[in-house]
Subunit: 153 residues, 2 copies
DNA sequence: TTTGCTAATGAAAACCATTTCCATTTATAA
DNA sequence: TTATAAATGGAAATGGTTTTCATTAGCAAA
């Protein structure tokens, strides 16, 4: 249910947040992009269509979106946070990442997600019971060298 | 083989790094601690025994250790990097994390269900073949609310 | 042991992503 | 339309991390 074009509006109000032009445009950029954008990159894209947006508002909106579970914040090791919408209805859907520690390239993958999903379900259940921990989300990243960076060795 | 008390010395030299007092003390702190220390926390602990250490050197040493695979750098969302030695011979050994998004508490777990280890192996193999990606390490974190933070709701 | 080369170091300054401050604007319910 | 509090933008502050540079120290060779 989270974040399709018809859902976020309602979810926003539920949580007591106002729907503003800036927030709409930020969500629009996030849902349309295929990359892993930083706050500044999001700001620049929004700014193309809506010049009065401020970088501060971008940061604040990203916080809001993450706090209500519509957005996931990543640290890929390049010194700035990067963001990706959480949307099961998105063509990308939930996926995990391969992170090249050399060139910082990010590879999305969801090929093996079936088995992984099954295991994740089990693991999450076991963990939440043992540690009385309420799991809301997870992060799985594999670090190493992409094919190109293996060659330059 | 990475990082037992007898191994890191050799690995250091192999990689062309000099063995210095500061580096020894930093490694000592890292191998003895049970927590997830930040650069400043490491600096303070080392400083107790070796006053002439500088924070800059701590940062530089942490980079070196991470680059040769003796140390893993984490982002738990509290605005600073945190570090943990990678050491199979350590009493803690390889483990994953539960991260409370409310109080920032970190729970280590290594009581993997059997399938978890096996699936990881399979996944890593499949991914490295399909994407020609050489996997060196992985990061698995579950985000949510710890038992205490569930109550304060 | 001594020497020479170069990596390593510490302190201060710079960097820069993110946050805070605050005066102004705007969404929204009445 | 109005009142009220949330949201906003720009400037300044913050603070973790990196860079700079003059000095120190590890270590291979003699
Ligand atoms: Mn992705
Ligand atoms: Mn841990
Ligand atoms: Zn690469
Ligand atoms: Zn908690």
């Amino acid at each position: 249910m989270p974040c399709n074009k018809f859902g976020w509006h309602g979810k926003f109000k539920e949580c007591g947040y106002r729907v503003t032009v800036g927030r709409k445009e930020i969500l629009d950029v996030l849902t349309k992009t295929t990359g892993h954008l930083s706050a500044e990159e999001i700001y620049l894209k929004v700014h193309e269509k809506y010049q009065s947006i401020g970088l501060t508002t971008v940061y604040r909106t990203l916080d809001v979106l993450a706090s209500i579970g519509l957005l996931q914040k990543f640290d890929f090791g390049d010194g700035r946070a990067r963001y990706e919408i959480i949307d099961a209805t998105n063509e990308k859907g939930h996926h995990h990442h391969l992170v090249c520690t050399e060139c910082k390239r990010i590879i999305d993958y969801k090929d093996f997600i079936d088995e992984e999903v099954e295991l994740l379900r089990k693991t999450e259940k076991a963990l939440s019971e043992k540690y009385k921990f309420e799991i809301k989300n997870h992060l799985i990243q594999f670090y190493g060298l992409c094919s190109e960076c293996q060659e330059h060795r």
